[in-house]
């Protein structure tokens, strides 16, 4: 590589980094501005917007609501995803590819289409719009991701591991619990965090399947319609930090676990 191309490539790289982070930086900065109007110049700084967020019971309630949905849908997605993966992974049967394709479909259908169809379905089975409907919507969407991640990990499990467990007296359930599940742990953490983030971040499904109670993205959207306020910047910054911590933690623990197994 010549010196020129090296300089050229690093300029491109840093330009990309700036493009990626300047909007985030602006959003964070504006959350500290002591004025209702977003934009420069900034004459005074304040923490009031954050104080307001943590005083706002509506925001806190919605945050808890979103978290509950994320946790429950993640748990369901993990259970169903692992079940699908352990069934699809090692077994050979006719039409396996078809079953696999059908499993993956919800992940690739455009969000708006799956949201509308889920809404129609919910009405058909007389399910009230709200938490349960949103959880089901998120779960349907997330299961394929879990199944794919778990299947990838499962395919690296040497068959002798389960045979050794059986050999030492474990029936297939104990062998699964004590050998397969621990082996899947890094993948479970990764898939779980990914599901949490997908669910927490989801707007379209939450919007279409929600009742009167909004999730956090839906609330932010609603607030935006009545005008941009630095409070939204503050909420967004809190969410940004929390998700970044969660992501980094998942990344670290996955690496550590994969090294030991």
């Amino acid at each position: 590589m010549t010196a020129q191309t090296r300089i050229f490539l690093s300029v491109i790289y840093w330009a990309f980094v700036v493009y990626l982070f300047v909007p985030l930086l602006l959003m964070v900065t504006m959350g500290f501005k002591d004025s209702r109007f977003i934009g420069f110049p900034i004459k005074a700084w304040t923490l009031n917007w954050y104080a307001e967020v943590f005083r706002d019971t509506e925001v806190l309630g919605v945050f808890a609501f979103s978290m509950t949905i994320a946790l429950v849908s993640t748990l369901l997605s993990l259970i169903i995803g692992v079940w699908v993966a352990t069934f699809l992974g090692p077994n050979r049967f006719r039409g396996k590819l078809l079953v696999f394709a059908l499993t993956c479909l919800p992940a690739v259908i455009p969000g708006i289409i799956s949201a509308i169809s889920l809404r129609i379905f919910a009405r058909l089975i007389e399910l009230e719009p709200g938490m349960v409907a949103i959880i089901l919507g998120h779960t349907v969407h997330n299961v394929p991701f879990v199944a794919l991640v778990i299947m990838a990990r499962l395919s690296t499990l040497p068959p002798s591991q389960l045979e050794a467990a059986r050999d030492l007296g474990a029936d297939s359930l104990i062998a699964f619990m004590r050998v397969t599940l621990p082996y899947l742990r890094p993948a479970l953490i990764g898939a779980g965090v990914f599901c949490m983030l997908l669910s927490f971040d989801d707007f379209v499904r939450s919007f279409f399947l929600g009742g009167y109670e909004p999730t956090l993205p839906v609330l932010i959207f609603a607030k935006l319609r009545s005008g941009m306020s630095p409070e939204i910047n503050a909420i967004s910054t809190v969410v940004l930090i929390l998700t970044a911590i969660l992501g980094l933690w998942a990344e670290r623990s996955m690496r550590r676990l994969e090294r030991t197994s």
Binding site: A164, A165, R166, D167
Partner: protein, 373 residues
């Protein structure tokens, strides 16, 4: 528990087919308590399938497996008193050495005190003290192998299965572990069923070797028997180096209380010891196997029942011995492989290519192959 000569395992006419491949064909074998039995053969010969059927990982298509008097043919692995050391050891990566070894004991419902006592016992026996809290990835290959052995021995199985457990070790360590494994087997008095494709490994450790090829038993006997009296061409070829000579049977004679078969090789009379289980008929063409180290080379005609003149056509110095190819017969068109030991080589003096010499051997060193007719 260990009553010698009491059959611990009986495989009764066991067959197993994978698709169109007959992996094991009508295997009928009894294994006695306390023996070190090796199934030896090339890959795909059915040895691993046999082991996996004993372990319960494969179910025979036909036949029965009797373990300690109980029919276990269709019992799953977790309900058989058999444990296995896997080729890749299959230690559980997320568990410590102690947790790995305790796994089988916990599932057998032993209490904590019993488990701890058994672990202490095994760790001392297998020199694993101080490793109990380590994870498998913090151990060397040899240590992993011992942990796998400890884990399989822990539940005190009737039968220990070993699936090529030395394959992953380097050559030097393998030699050590062979000796260790044999001594562990002798000290525990357990019945070991070992599977390998390595003839040297099999000869070193086994009380009994079952040579298999294409799902069938080719020969079954002690290492010495197999080595000195291979029953057929496959075994003669597979175990060690051998010379194969085609002869015609002339008759039998009785010398010094022993029966001998008189053979004719291109006009030269040869004598081979007769075995009761196989008597070829006069006029029959047979192949005989003769080990290189059974051949005595000398400058003068040796006073042995079998003696032939020959000429050295190739000489390879191998350190502890010298391998020579000797042309024999009228046209000198038959090659015999022989070895000269340094002491004998010194005496021989003319051991260079082109030199003439005599070769001779004892009748009991000639093994008449059964599939040669």
């Amino acid at each position: 528990m260990t009553d010698p000569k009491y059959p611990i395992v009986q495989l009764e006419h066991v067959s197993k087919r994978f698709g169109s491949v007959l992996a094991v064909a009508d295997l009928h074998i009894t294994i006695e308590t306390g023996q070190f039995v090796t199934f030896l053969g090339p890959s795909g010969c059915g040895k691993s399938t046999t082991l996996r059927m004993l372990g319960g990982f494969e179910t025979p298509d036909q036949g029965r497996i009797i373990l300690g008097g109980e029919d276990v043919t269709s019992k799953p692995p977790n309900r058989r008193d058999v444990n296995m050391v896997f080729q890749d050891y299959a230690l559980f990566p997320h568990m410590s050495v102690a947790q790995n070894v305790a796994f089988g004991l916990e599932l057998k419902g032993r209490n904590r005190a019993e488990i701890d006592q058994r672990l202490t016992e095994l760790f001392e026996f297998l020199q694993l003290e101080g490793f109990s809290e380590r994870r498998p990835d913090q151990l060397s290959g040899g240590q992993r192998q011992r942990v796998a052995l400890a884990r399989a021995l822990a539940p005190d199985p009737k039968l220990l299965l070993l699936d090529e457990p030395l394959g992953a070790l380097d050559a030097k360590l393998r030699g050590q572990v062979q000796v260790e494994l044999k001594s562990i087997q002798q000290r525990t008095g357990k019945t070991f069923v070992f599977v390998t494709h390595d003839q040297e490994e099999a000869l070193t450790m086994s009380d009994r070797i079952v040579v298999m090829n294409q799902g069938q038993v080719m020969q079954d006997g002690t290492p010495e028997d197999l080595y000195h009296y291979p029953a057929n061409r496959f075994v003669a070829d597979f175990i060690g180096d051998t010379n194969l000579i085609s002869c015609t049977v002339r008759g039998e004679q009785r010398i010094d209380e022993r029966d001998e078969i008189i053979l004719d090789w291109n006009g030269t009379q040869l004598r081979a010891e007769a075995h009761n289980d196989y008597r070829p008929q006069p006029g029959q063409t047979v192949e005989i196997a003769l080990r290189p180290e059974s051949i005595l080379c000398s400058t003068e005609r040796p006073s042995l029942p079998n003696a032939l003149p020959g000429r050295i056509v190739q000489r390879l110095f191998k350190g502890s011995r010298t391998a020579v190819s000797i042309a024999i017969g009228e046209g000198q068109d038959t090659l015999l492989q022989a070895v000269l030991d340094p002491f004998l080589g010194q005496q021989l003096q003319n051991d260079q290519v082109g030199d003439s010499l005599w070769v001779g051997w004892l009748p009991e060193r000639m093994s008449i192959l059964r599939d040669s007719g």
